[in-house]
């Protein structure tokens, strides 16, 4: 948390920004990374300027650049969220088949996605709520099945304060045993064979509060470091 965010008032930084900032620390120089829609897209804003990371967009692009300056939007240049973007020196374009061949082939180092639910086995549900309109899974099932690492970046609980990290997902799954790490505004949690391990905690919360908002047992790492962003 930057000093300026605390000056004068008790205004907390946007939890979504905190999640994106912490998730950005998982990136390493040379990584090819696919970012999902929402908080994961924000991760691109916080990449350490000392490393070079190449972003993949599954609609057929490597080297995704920032949003264009107003007036320079190109309808032929969008990301997988259908947002206008820009290209960089070194960008390449390819078909959807080539795009998913590089995903399926295990060439993507890291996939960061949002979630509706994650459970202690690393099962992920993020595409469908029965009884509501089915939008479709898009590329999420392909990404979680084949990226080398899958990180979920999401708010810890629902808006009503109900846990999203559970013993077992209740919603239809996107993938089974695919999530390696969960990053929220409260915690960094690793999925391990022994169960979910609380590895880092936000400075402004407690283990009891994290447990209250988590629907499954947490193993607490000792000593427990604070999340640094």
């Amino acid at each position: 948390m930057s000093a300026s965010a605390q000056v004068g008032t008790s205004v907390k930084p946007d939890p979504r920004e905190l999640i994106a900032r912490r998730a950005a620390k998982e990136l390493r120089d040379g990584f090819y990374v696919n970012l999902g829609i929402g908080i994961p897209t924000m991760v691109a804003n916080y990449v350490d300027p000392g490393i070079e990371v190449i972003l993949q967009s599954e609609n057929g692009m490597l080297g995704v650049g920032p949003y264009p300056i107003a007036g320079e939007e190109d309808p032929d240049l969008i990301n997988a969220g259908k947002e206008t973007i820009s290209e960089l020196a070194g960008t390449s374009y390819f078909s959807s088949a080539d795009s998913f061949a590089m995903i399926r082939g295990g060439h993507i180092h890291l996939s960061i996605l949002g979630a509706l639910e994650v459970d202690r086995e690393g099962n992920l549900a993020n595409w469908m709520v029965p009884g509501k309109m089915v939008k479709g899974m898009g590329g999420a099932m392909d990404l979680v099945a084949s990226a080398r690492r899958v990180i979920v970046a999401m708010e810890h609980a629902t808006r009503r304060g109900e846990p999203k990290i559970l013993d077992a997902c209740r919603l239809p799954l996107t993938g089974t045993k695919v999530v390696e790490t969960i990053i929220t505004e409260l915690a960094v949690i690793r999925v391990t064979p022994a169960g979910l391990v609380l590895e880092e905690i936000a400075p402004d919360t407690t283990v009891d509060e994290v447990r209250r908002l988590t629907g499954t047992a947490l193993i607490v790492r000792q000593p427990l470091p604070s999340i640094v962003v």
């Binding site: 691109a44 804003n45 916080y46 990449v47 300027p49 990371v53 599954e58 609609n59 057929g60 692009m61 650049g65 920032p66 949003y67 264009p68 300056i69 107003a70 320079e72 939007e73 190109d74 309808p75 032929d76 240049l77 969008i78 990301n79 997988a80 969220g81 259908k82 947002e83 206008t84 973007i85 290209e87 960089l88 374009y93 390819f94 078909s95 959807s96 088949a97 795009s99 998913f100 061949a101 995903i103 399926r104 099962n123 309109m133 089915v134 939008k135 479709g136 899974m137 898009g138 590329g139 999420a140 099932m141 392909d142 099945a145 084949s146 239809p172 799954l173 996107t174 993938g175 089974t176």
Partner: protein, 237 residues
């Protein structure tokens, strides 16, 4: 050899009711706008469509849907189309959602003469229901079948009368695979040039896959989500 067709009406004239049609594009990017308009005008019925998305209200595949021309659809993401929801619930449209990479590869396989393949996407999910699951080296995969179509309606940036096509940026997406997977591929382009004008190294769809080609007089190219950054913004990447 001249694959150039003079009008969009002529290009779609022999598409019958009940045809299986692939439509290129991702969202509204790289869609065959003029061919879609001609298809709607012809009012073909009971179509089986294969396309990643189904457009938006009033644009892209939206008007095909609104005209009640679609009997079944295979895609990966259908967004928040209220009408589609109503039609699916009312049993008027049979919707099959499949993972996007599986869709892309099924089309690629269909065009490449590969009847089926194994993929890990969807293992352990409802996508796996009714499909063969096989273990290769300790990892599970689903058997998925290739897809083909009667017609593919695709969009490229530039093309020549032999059907060679060059795409532009992310407007390529599903167009090249669909070109290979249909008995009759109809390509519309923004620039129709003479053979020799395209850089042979840049041709992404060789003409063998294209049966008809024509010049689109006008392109709307609507933007689904217009996102920009302030002029002064620091670019962190």
């Amino acid at each position: 050899m001249n694959k150039v067709v003079e009008s969009f009406d002529e290009a779609v004239a022999d598409i019958p009711d009940g045809a299986t049609i692939m439509l290129g594009g991702f969202g509204l990017c790289g869609i065959p706008e003029n061919l879609i308009a001609a298809l709607v005008k012809k009012n073909v019925r009971s179509l089986h469509t294969i396309s990643n998305n189904v457009g938006v209200d009033g644009f892209g595949m939206g008007p095909i849907l609104e005209a009640g021309m679609i009997a079944s659809h295979i895609g990966s993401y259908v967004g928040e189309n209220k009408l589609l929801e109503e039609m699916v619930i009312a049993g008027k449209l049979n919707l099959t959602l499949i993972p996007q990479g599986t869709l892309a590869e099924r089309i690629r396989a269909g065009g490449a003469g590969i009847p089926a393949f194994y993929t890990p996407a969807g293992v352990g999910t409802i996508v796996a229901e009714g499909k063969e699951v096989r273990d290769f080296d300790g990892r599970l995969y689903l058997l998925e079948h290739g897809l083909t179509a009667d017609f593919a309606l695709i969009k490229a940036w530039r093309g020549d009368r032999l059907g060679n096509l060059v795409y532009r940026k992310t407007a390529r997406n599903f167009n090249p695979m669909m070109a290979t997977a249909a008995r009759c591929t109809i390509a519309e382009v923004e620039e129709l040039v003479e053979p020799g004008a395209l850089d042979p190294d840049a041709v992404a769809t060789p003409g063998i896959y294209v049966q008809r080609i024509l010049l689109g007089a006008h392109y709307d190219k609507r933007i689904e989500r217009r996102t920009t950054r302030p002029f002064e913004a620091e670019v962190s990447r």
